[in-house]
């Protein structure tokens, strides 16, 4: 996974970007992150998948990832090497899926100030987003302790593996 504390380019999207816009239905017969990455935002912003670099960030307005429960949407961003997603708010299942996949997500009310192409990075522990282009710092909501544990352990799978291993040794 890419390091969200390293600066990367911000790809800025608006409000209510739903999962159909992140990963159009017709492509989600595949569950392969690399394959999904080639279609990320295909109808909305076709240049994204061609030009996104590993370590870049997705920045969005309110209610990012609304719509279906498809994990293909955050997975396509993992496949594209996206280092993190900053949004003013997230739809619940997208937020959950991202945490479970170990994709860093921060809720940041000031995300709207970030311009497309700005260089940004995140500090997850402190709940802060830095804008290297403008020199600004934005406060974000720190993740609740339980979710921090999940992310620190590398996502839900790693967490569960450790849990199951613990059960066996009980």
């Amino acid at each position: 996974m890419t390091d969200p504390s390293e600066p990367g380019r911000a790809w800025v999207f608006g409000d209510d970007i739903d999962t159909d816009q992140i990963t159009p239905s017709r492509f989600i017969v595949s569950s392969d992150p690399d394959e999904l990455a080639t279609h990320a935002f295909e109808d909305l912003r076709p240049e994204f998948s061609e030009n996104v670099d590993s370590g870049d960030f997705v920045v969005a307005g309110e209610n990012f990832g609304s719509g279906s429960s498809r994990e293909h949407s955050p997975l396509s961003l993992v496949g594209a090497g996206v280092a993190g997603v900053v949004a003013q708010s997230f739809a619940r299942i997208f937020f959950r899926n991202a945490i479970n996949l170990g994709l860093p997500v921060l809720i940041c009310p000031e995300a709207g100030i970030i311009d497309d192409g700005d260089e940004i990075c995140m500090n997850l522990g402190e709940g802060v987003v830095y804008n290297h282009t403008t020199g600004e710092t934005y406060n974000a909501e720190a993740l609740p302790e339980f979710l921090q544990t999940l992310v620190e352990q590398g996502g839900l799978k790693a967490y569960t593996k450790a849990k199951l291993a613990g059960r066996e040794s009980d």
């Binding site: 429960s69 498809r70 799978k157």
Partner: protein, 437 residues
């Protein structure tokens, strides 16, 4: 300390600790569901976390459905179906076949969920189960894969928004109209992370098939779950449907002094049939505002309004009539049993005589995969739950959402039509019993 909501009580019980909204818990899951799109990814997670000697937490409470691309509309879909079949055979999970129907219809009809169950489905409309008093919520494939392995999952205990409707519903106003109205009022994200609880005398008077509509569309306002308190009607419905006696725990309900995040109160008599305009369910308006909008396609089906009672309402309108010459109609029953009921009672014939096309049970064109996808410029009036740009096909198509009664009336005139212009019935749950008798 004030009382507790249903969601707080249920998650406390399943987590084995006394919690309130906002807490994070790991809770024991009763039923887990995945379908042909989300299943394969969930299986990968399942194997990854369990390793070699993988066993399901509860094979008899694991349900896999083939509904989204059913029958297979391409090789990849067919391969996904086979992956589901193999997984079910290997681990002893319940698996439903092509034509058996949509997950959310099947789980209720076949008795896999009941009041007080914690149900996780790898599908966002898993909120549907709240219509019979379960806590149903949609999760991703990683969530589901780990739940299949451990029988547990993490949850944030949600706050609750209460929608209360009192009085008798006017003619032409159904559960679909109520929920579109609620979504329009609180907005597409108005219930995010929260439970939408539906109550009041108008809700209590609703048959189960309509309560399921309310719970189903909780997700269209961002809800984590939808909930209607189960009652005798729920028990009777489930016993009739599934042949099993149902126990409803009388303490597992929201206390009268529970704390709600918001309470929205309506007088039933003030409500009118609703239509959600493209391209967001929150664009709900009184039908009179969009009357006369020309339509190309009518779509009757989905986990929201593809039940027998819904399709029968449309057939009633079209009995002895023909579709307006400018429209086509695609009907997709929500389940195989709905399909068979339609054949048995003549609903099938009425619809085909009127010029409709009837597809095998499943999701149909709801998510734009097959069986009636929209082309550039097409306008569709659907009994579905979502109308995002491109949802049912072309990015340049336009989907309006409405109740089956509104869709039926509009089929006659070829334009969006107020269902109050014609006579529409309201079916209670006994109509199914009559069909089966």
């Amino acid at each position: 300390m004030t009382g507790k909501t249903f969601s707080e009580k249920l998650l406390s019980a399943k987590a084995g600790e006394d919690v309130r909204a906002g807490a994070y818990v790991e809770a024991a899951v009763d039923v887990a569901m995945a379908h042909d799109i989300t299943g394969p990814l969930a299986f990968e997670t399942f194997y990854e976390v369990t390793g070699e000697d993988a066993t399901l937490f509860a094979p008899d409470r694991t349900v896999l459905t083939i509904d989204h691309h059913a029958p297979a509309d391409g090789v990849e879909a067919a391969n996904n179906h086979n992956a589901l079949r193999r997984f079910a055979a290997e681990h002893g999970a319940h698996q439903f076949e092509v034509g058996d129907g949509i997950c959310h219809a099947v789980l209720v009809e076949e008795g896999f969920v009941g009041p007080g169950d914690l149900v996780v489905g790898a599908d966002s409309h898993s909120t549907t189960y709240g219509g019979i008093g379960a806590f149903g919520t949609g999760v991703g494939s990683s969530d589901l894969g780990t739940a299949l392995a451990t029988g547990e999952l993490w949850f944030r205990v949600p706050e609750t928004i209460r929608f209360e409707v009192n009085g008798d519903l006017p003619d032409g106003v159904y559960a679909k109209d109520l929920v579109l109205k609620f979504i329009g009022d609180v907005g597409f994200a108005g219930c995010t992370y929260e439970t939408a609880e539906y109550a009041g005398s108008a809700i209590e008077s609703l048959p189960i098939h309509e309560r399921l509509v309310l719970a189903n569309m909780a997700i269209e306002m961002g809800g984590k779950a939808g909930y209607v308190e189960p009652d005798d009607r729920t028990a009777e419905y489930l016993e009739r449907q599934t042949g099993r006696a149902v126990d409803i725990d009388p303490s597992l309900r929201s206390d009268d002094d529970a704390t709600y995040d918001e309470v929205h109160t309506y007088r039933a008599a003030d409500l009118a049939p609703q239509v959600s305009k493209p391209s967001n369910p929150e664009n709900a308006v009184d039908v009179t505002e969009v009357e006369g909008t020309e339509i190309d396609q009518l779509f009757v089906g989905t986990c929201t309004n593809g039940r027998y009672e819904d399709i029968k309402l449309v057939a009633d309108v079209l009995e002895g009539e023909e579709l307006a010459p400018n429209v086509r109609m695609v009907v997709v029953p929500a389940s195989g049993s709905v399909y068979r009921h339609m054949l048995k009672t003549g609903v099938f014939e009425t619809l085909t005589d009127a010029g409709a096309v009837i597809q095998s049970a499943g999701c149909g064109p709801c998510a734009g995969y097959h069986q009636g996808v929209l082309g550039d410029g097409d306008v569709c009036l659907a009994t579905a739950n979502r109308n995002f740009a491109g949802r049912e096909g072309s990015m340049d198509s336009h989907v309006y959402l409405a109740s089956p009664a509104t869709v039926g009336a509009s089929a006659l005139y070829g334009e969006i039509t107020d269902p109050r212009r014609i006579e529409t019935k309201r079916y209670d749950d006994t109509i199914l019993a009559e069909v089966e008798a």
